[in-house]
Symmetry: C2
Subunit: 424 residues, 2 copies
């Protein structure tokens, strides 16, 4: 079996334009990024969901509390370790002890394996690492033995004055691996310690539309620098505030924006002679885990949503109500893997501003325009065989190093957008 998904599309259009353009502008691109990172601090890590339509490569979600570290290629462990060292060197302060605050769903064994790998990478980078849990039922340390043979000690989070830690351990740095879907915990307010990503980047504060607003500006600046149409790396979007799916409030706004967005996409498709049918994704503006998401090809679909569909859209993780939605250009996934072909969606990982690889979500039962990160949806992870760090001049634009380099560039643009969100 091939080890990298196949990029296949029947489109007549500017195929591989992004890859070949990026491949040719390596020095300009890296120079631009270097300059950006000289003046802005990035969050500690991120994973970026990317879609490659052949004519267009764009991020569709940027997760600042990434899980899935267990899906990365073990061959790039040293790269991860070096990236952790660089990210912490960039914090410009003495850090030896690090506390990770994990999610509360400790029964999710996939999550626990990811946490185990994350802890191991940071330990191997030469730090003392402990896990401090906010889970209210955890009143004493609890050892979990994982399928991989890893053993993890979860300890109850303690607060002493303005500093948090676990028993006998007050860290200089706290890394959040909990997306704060259920709100900003009082325990974490007003800390004297460095906390990354900061509280206001949790899903209780953050809106996808804020991120994609920043991304739009980042993509425009970047595209101008290398003389590229920004649309080729940026999904169009609009947003609606004050939607109530259950009460059917805000539907007019939604329909109007869906119509406008579909028209704008069609214009770009016409410009590039792309024969696909435009579609949009309607997503909860706050929240993650692929909940509260639907694919829409016509505004008429909004008014005929049935009760089950409305319920599915109305709440996201931890029962948070959806009141704002993001309407985002749908980007077709034209990467497939295996036989019969299964749709494959790349996820790129960054530690600090360094790309450290990624993996594909491979799901055979889904279509090219559906979301592959849905609740209950099982995917097969396929680790990238390349770390996305540099293109290979001598090879074709679709050669794996070049495709992965393009993914690394897009992911770094998303990270830069997140850094600007954080600074804003």
């Amino acid at each position: 079996m091939q080890s990298v998904p196949h990029l296949t599309t029947a489109q007549i259009g500017p195929m591989l334009m992004v890859e070949s353009h990026l491949q040719e502008h390596l020095a300009d691109i890296e120079s631009w990024f270097r300059n950006q990172w000289r003046s802005i601090k990035e969050p500690f890590y991120a994973s970026v969901d990317i879609r490659n339509a052949g004519f267009k490569i764009a991020p569709v979600d940027t997760n600042l509390f990434p899980a899935g570290f267990n899906n990365l290629n073990p061959a790039f462990e040293a790269l991860c370790i070096q990236a952790v060292q660089l990210a912490i060197e960039r914090m410009n302060t003495r850090i030896d002890r690090i506390l990770i605050i994990p999610e509360n769903h400790t029964r999710n064994l996939f999550y626990m394996e990811s946490l185990g790998v994350l802890k191991e990478i940071i330990e191997k980078a030469g730090f003392e690492v402990r896990l401090g849990s906010m889970f209210p039922d955890l009143t004493e340390p609890k050892e979990a033995t994982l399928e991989s043979g890893r053993s993890l000690l979860l300890e109850p989070l303690l607060k002493e004055g303005n500093r948090i830690g676990v028993d006998g351990f007050i860290p200089e740095l706290v890394i959040l691996n909990n997306d704060l879907s259920s709100g900003r915990p009082a325990l974490l307010e007003g800390l004297d310690q460095r906390l990354t990503p900061p509280l206001n980047m949790g899903w209780s504060n953050r809106l996808k539309s804020m991120h994609f607003g920043q991304y739009k500006m980042v993509a425009e600046e970047f595209a101008k620098h290398i003389d590229l149409d920004p649309w080729l790396i940026d999904p169009l979007f609009r947003n609606c505030g004050e939607i109530d799916f259950m009460k059917r409030e805000g539907e007019t706004c939604l329909s109007r924006n869906v119509t406008a967005l579909l028209e704008n996409i069609q214009k770009k498709y016409d410009e590039y002679s792309i024969k696909s049918e435009p579609y949009v994704m309607v997503k909860a503006d706050a929240g993650t885990y692929g909940m509260g998401i639907m694919t829409v090809k016509s505004p008429d679909e909004i008014s005929v949503l049935n009760r089950k569909q409305r319920t599915r859209m109305a709440t996201v993780k931890e029962g948070q109500k959806v009141t704002k939605v993001l309407i985002q250009e749908g980007v077709y996934t034209h990467e497939t893997w295996g036989e019969p072909p299964a749709v494959a969606e790349p996820v790129v990982y960054l530690i600090g501003h360094s790309v450290v690889g990624g993996f594909y979500r491979v799901h055979s039962a889904r279509g090219v325009n559906e979301n592959l990160n849905s609740p209950g949806m099982r995917f097969e992870p396929l680790a990238f065989e390349d770390c996305c760090i540099s293109p290979e001049k001598s090879l074709s634009p679709d050669a794996h190093p070049n495709r992965f380099y393009a993914y690394g560039v897009i992911a770094r643009l998303a990270m830069l957008a997140a850094a600007r969100e954080m600074a804003a």
Copy 2:
């Protein structure tokens, strides 16, 4: 065939003490290094020759103008690229164009391959790179095609005002890959551009005794921090000024120091119940390329040197006369590879303060106490299968990741000594 040399010794002594001690103190060690690098700038790169006697691991040479990049494991290319990006980020200034000044011996195809790999790594890190040669006979650009298929363009170095470059290319950073054995070139004096390593680190200025003096202090501070006898990581040494091998001047000083050093080594051997016979290396204090080096087991050997041996000691690279010598504790090499066993000497590479792997010099015709880097001596390079970045807690001290981690630590101590030489 095994892919990593075998560490074998008949010694009764504190075997693997260094490896196991370093393995246990990962967090302390990395914390110590982090703190050091926060307050001092390192040269751009280095290769460090290391010897592992089983009871002791020590650097025997630190080269600040390394060749041999073609001997590194291609699997760690991404690590090298990331290390270049970090090293240049640490320079805290805008750098996009880089000029490399190579050695003049362009007919050495091994050297040219190394130069090709070095250039490629820096290009892939996102910089524009050109090669500016000081070779007087090079009056116009000359393309060289290498066995690997690489093609290298050597261009004559030009100076405009206080800036150097090649035709149409004025770089922000100049990387010296020429050890300046024949002196400080006037062309490179008083530049407005950043030059790394700086001129005074060339062999025309630098003395091995200065380096090992700094290394001794670094090793003492480090060893104190992790509670280790510094002798286990530091070769003892003494030096003599004003030696003339041909005129037999300075022999008394040499004999006296050889005697004293052999006695000091014997004391340490007795302390650790090591049954080996002490020996010392007598080396030209300035100079490289393994010229002007001899193994001495008794001061009597000095007075009976024949004419040929004296001539061999009297001059080093580019005909420079040897007037000062370093007398260094000989460290046995107890790593062997293959059948019949061939002696293997590790060489560790750093870019900035990051270790990026290394290789072994394997030579079957040499003994355990001889120098493996001699003129005319051909060795087989054996790339490290590990990048030396982190130990593996769960494995034995002699497991490959732990042995390589120890090498990485020793190499970083040598780099720190070089950084202090540079600052002094």
